[in-house]
Amino acid sequence: MRNTVCCLFLLIFSTNTFSVNSNLILADSFPDKLSEFEFFVDDSAQEPHERVIPYELISTLFSDYSYKQRWVYVPNNAKASYVKDWVFDFPEGSALIKTFYYPVDERNPDLGKQLLETRLLLRKKDGWEAVSYAWNEQQNEAYKKIAGKTINASWIDFMGDERQVRYRVPNVNQCKECHAAKDSITPIGPKAKNINKHYSFEEGDFNQLTYWMKKEIIDSFPEDLVSPVDWRNETKDINDRARSYLDVNCGHCHSPTGNANSTGLYLNLVETRDINLGVYKKPVATGRGSGGNKYSIVPGKPDESILLYRMESMDPGIMMPESGRALTHQEAVEMIRDWITQLPNK
């Protein structure tokens, strides 16, 4: 009887009194279950709390063809501040939430999806921390996976073919590998330039930055943002598409402040030096990653370019990125191939 009353009570008040558990965001340790954060009104349906705002990026990181839904949460009465050429500086207690999934059949969204994992970046008092929660088979709860997890997943692609993947939920250290900047952890996606695009919110269609201002979760953004292009947009310049793709897929490690800075190969958007972009750059510690090629990029010769060789490979000792990929991103490989083919041989 008492239970029934409790349930009723919860039902009646859940939509009104429900709020994100900000204490857990700030806590010293991560809770075992994703639902404890109360980011979602309905976890398995991935229906977010109203202050948990969905967003998209212009160009995204390839993660074995998985789909991603992103949300940002900024606590009441606090705002993230704009930082030039970098991610917003989010206040303590903020959270970036990203759920990875495969649709059962890419041709028919109504057939549902398989939730894989929900990755969290939590803005603690001293900085960001990263952790991932893997969804159970019943798809009604996601559990903390400090050491990562392997999920053998499959889906039907747009061509009607069944695709299989040994999907890896990253462990906590692997989160840091990509999200490292100097000695601390940083988000990668939510730079003003990366979210400068329209999104269909429940209230209507808005530019995301405008919407974030309206929701008072950011303090400002400049009018004259130079944004990356969507690398899939074939009407855009091939050079912009390639640089945009390389920036978001490689530039977090391959930059002067990233984990791969010892290589001298820098693929972040602001890099302008040919040699550091890989043009006629010899490998340093590449080993068999060179595939018998002499340079990272040989203009006009994609098949002699180490960069493309490592994008195509599925061998863990060769492939790039080092983590988070088990399949080849065929469409991007074609685009980078076209890009290298038309690069002028100075």
């Binding site: 400090i146 050491a147 990562g148 392997t150 040994r166 890896r168 462990n171 906590v172 250290n173 692997q174 840091k176 590998e177 002067p256 984990n259 800075n261 010892s262 001298g264 040699i275 550091n276 750059k281 010899k282 490998p283 340093v284 510690a285 590449t286 080993g287 068999r288 990653g289 060179s290 595939g291 018998g292 090629n293 002499k294 340079y295 180490i306 061998d315 863990p316 000792g317 060769i318 492939m319 080092e322 983590s323 088990a326």
Partner: protein
């Protein structure tokens, strides 16, 4: 009172009253248990990997400062990555003041043990091996600390790396000692690094035994202050099996020690013998570079008191340009010590400053260098084989002290 406080606080830290030992046994889910332990251990803890044969499908990583991870001996605690499906190395360490000891890493798909940006890393009594013999499909490096400081590699064994068995890159304050490197392309390689002591090691059956290199277009370059002494670099007779594109792919089979483009290097009291191409080679960086901050020539190299056994009896003229050029210019009479003689144009004209000169003080060693002017003017014999022209006073480099913890 103040005095007591002053002493007791560091003491507490040193003793670490909360330090604990964590044990990992072989068995089901060893991968997940070990990786979780590597994430959850806390500063001051010791993680002990019990003896046994561990098979892993994913790379391991450690990012906790001030911990010890040890096995129960290189023949007892074996971490086997033959079936590795993900991760670019066997074990990746990204934290400071870490001690690793007494285990083996076998058949990693990429590098066996990589350490990035550590301030303080001890690698003691460890082994890295590719068990199928020298193959270009082996991983690049066995031991691979990079961008690190206070690096100790002591009593380790490195076998079968397709680049270097022991490779220290872009680091500072380094000791590599009492270790064995065999059947690698390069046995031991110190690259773009500052302040290293490499001593009492055995490098044999590699393509090249010990390499001291500096390369352009990297965040840290200008490698200097390297002492290589009391090593045996002998019988380096494995064909170069590096995948093309890698700089070590240029190293000819049968090279004892090569110094390339470093400053302040002292090579003494080593045994170099049984190296079919050349025992000791001192060369400039041979490729074009536009890097304005890079100095491509060796500078202030001191060679003394080494013992030279047979060399040059089987020069590898197929690999790179070095052995072929040396073979031609020496008329097949390969020297123990070779210097390519390449200096900046201004030094060709005005001579080398004394503090940049090559100094050789050896009893029994044959020598050959190229005289650039004679070479450029097409003299029939542009060489100089008189090592006494390079005699001088040795100014010993300082011993390297690394911070212990």
């Amino acid at each position: 009172m103040k005095r007591i406080l002053f002493f007791s606080v560091p003491l507490l830290v040193a003793l670490n009253l909360f330090a604990k030992e964590v044990y990992i046994d072989p068995g089901p889910n060893a991968q997940e248990r070990l990786q979780e332990a590597l994430i959850l251990i806390e500063e001051g803890d010791t993680l002990i990997i019990k003896s046994g044969y561990y098979k892993f499908e994913d790379g391991l990583s450690l990012d906790v400062d001030n911990v010890i991870v040890k096995g129960e001996g290189i023949d007892s605690t074996i971490l086997d990555f033959k079936n590795q499906q993900s991760g670019a190395q066997g074990l990746l360490v990204t934290s400071d003041k870490v001690t690793l000891s007494d285990f083996s890493i076998l058949d990693a798909k990429g590098d066996a043990l990589k350490v990035i940006g550590a301030k303080g890393i001890n690698m003691i009594n460890l082994k890295t091996e590719w068990t199928g013999g020298p193959k270009s499909t082996n991983g690049a490096y066995g031991f691979y600390p990079v961008e690190s400081e206070d690096v100790l590699i002591d009593g380790c064994v490195a076998i079968g790396a397709s680049d270097a068995g022991i490779y220290v890159g872009q680091s500072k304050n380094i000791i590599v000692r009492n270790s064995v490197a065999q059947y690698n392309v390069a046995g031991i390689e110190i690259e773009n690094s500052y302040y290293a002591d490499v001593y009492n090691n055995l490098a044999s059956h590699n393509t090249g035994g010990i390499l001291v290199f500096d390369l352009p277009d990297l965040p840290q370059q200008g490698g200097h202050h390297i002492r290589v002494f009391d090593n045996k670099s002998i019988d380096n007779d494995t064909d170069n099996f590096a995948p093309e594109g890698n700089i070590v792919g240029e190293v000819p089979r049968g090279t004892g020690i090569i110094i390339m483009a470093n400053s302040d290097v002292e090579i003494f009291d080593n045994l170099m013998s049984g190296n079919g191409t050349v025992n000791l080679s001192i060369v400039s960086y041979g490729d074009e570079t536009d890097d304005p901050n890079y100095y491509p020539h060796p500078k202030n190299i001191q060679v003394h008191g080494n013992t030279y056994g047979p060399s040059g009896f089987d020069p590898d003229i197929e690999t790179g340009d070095l052995a072929k050029a040396l073979f031609e210019i020496s008329g097949g009479n390969m020297p123990d010590i070779f210097w390519d003689g390449i200096v900046p144009l201004s030094q060709i004209i005005f001579g080398q400053p004394d503090n940049e000169k090559l100094i050789i003080v050896e009893e029994d060693a044959s020598f050959l260098t190229i005289k650039p002017i004679k070479y450029m003017l097409g003299f029939s014999d542009p060489t100089n084989t008189n090592k006494d022209d390079f005699k001088g006073e040795i100014s010993p480099l300082k011993e390297i002290n690394i911070e212990t913890f």
